[in-house]
């Protein structure tokens, strides 16, 4: 099962995403932003970082890259796509997901382990979670404040397109505590927190059981592998 990970100039977490895919049992395939060949992968991850130095707007220039154009085209045909942090910003700039992401309410870059509630477990990337499951994964961003028009927010709520909500405090001023979204088809998911940093015991968030034992991020990647196998 091949899952592509696109590297843009300024991407940081591409190797972490590749490692997460490997730990979940998939084969990571490195993809390059300037190349419109996605190498027949079964799913794509747009990883975190600061593509093109966050120039113009976070994700705006990456949304124009040849690899992204191909992701947009194939997402329309059902290709599973996960955008993490900067990847989420690229997805909204590509109009694969609605709304926008602006600087955190209190101006500060936030880096912490963040509790989330899984609101929608019917997507390509969340089907291994229970509905309303509470998970803990790292969050690290400066521009993670989710905004959208009242009309869009109503649509997101009514159609159950909010996949994750922040719990125990909203870290960045996101409207309706939105941490992540999906599209109507459920194949595209974007979120600000980083599941790929919580996939291996010893390297994840602290839990009640043991230090750094949190691996709640692993299910994102297992979900898409399971879906691709069943398809």
């Amino acid at each position: 099962m091949k899952i592509g990970v696109i590297t843009y100039p300024g991407t940081l977490d591409d190797r972490d995403a590749q490692r997460a895919i490997r730990l979940a049992g998939g084969t990571p395939v490195p993809l390059w932003h300037a190349d419109d060949d996605l190498k027949k992968v079964d799913a794509v991850v747009l990883p975190g970082g600061f593509s093109y130095g966050d120039y113009l707007r976070c994700g705006a220039i990456a949304a124009q890259a040849p690899a992204t154009k191909e992701v947009i085209r194939l997402a329309g045909q059902g290709l599973p796509v996960l955008g993490i942090c900067n990847g989420f910003q690229i997805l909204v700039e590509s109009h694969l997901l609605p709304g926008g992401l602006i600087r955190n309410e209190k101006q500060h870059f936030v880096c912490k382990d963040q509790k989330l509630r899984v609101e929608n477990n019917q997507t390509s990337w969340t089907n291994m979670f229970e509905k309303d499951e509470e998970i803990l994964i790292p969050l690290k961003n400066g521009e993670g404040g989710y905004i959208a028009s009242d009309e869009t927010l109503k649509m997101l709520e009514a159609e159950n397109l909010i996949t994750f909500r922040y719990l125990d405090g909203n870290p960045n001023g996101s409207l309706n505590d939105i941490a992540g979204l999906t599209n109507k088809r459920g194949n595209v998911v974007g979120l600000m927190p980083h599941p790929e940093h919580a996939v291996e015991p010893g390297f994840g968030p602290d839990t009640k059981t043991a230090m750094r034992s949190g691996i709640d991020g692993l299910k994102f990647f297992q979900s898409v592998l399971q879906q691709v196998v069943n398809a």
Partner: protein, 82 residues
């Protein structure tokens, strides 16, 4: 040098955290009569030749679709300067 100037502002009803931080700083330096600050962008597109109406039309399209994001920003003006 002929240029097209694109001016972009964050939407009126949106919180502009950058503007707010600058306003707070201005207040601390004694300028309490400034009620708010909003910070936008000015983008210059330079040309080596005279700018045509077509260039201006193309710039307006790029301003709406790429240089700004209509979820969070408004294009205030796209103007030609010789």
């Amino acid at each position: 040098m002929p240029k097209i100037i694109v001016e972009i502002m964050p939407k009126q009803d949106l919180l502009d955290p950058q503007g707010k931080a600058v306003a707070n700083s201005l207040h601390r330096s004694g300028q309490k009569e400034i009620s708010a600050v909003r910070i936008g962008k000015r983008i210059e597109l330079h040309f080596e030749r005279e700018i045509t109406d077509k260039d201006l039309e193309e710039a307006k399209t790029q301003a709406a679709n790429f240089l700004s994001n209509d979820v969070i920003e408004d294009v205030v003006a796209v103007t030609k300067e010789d």
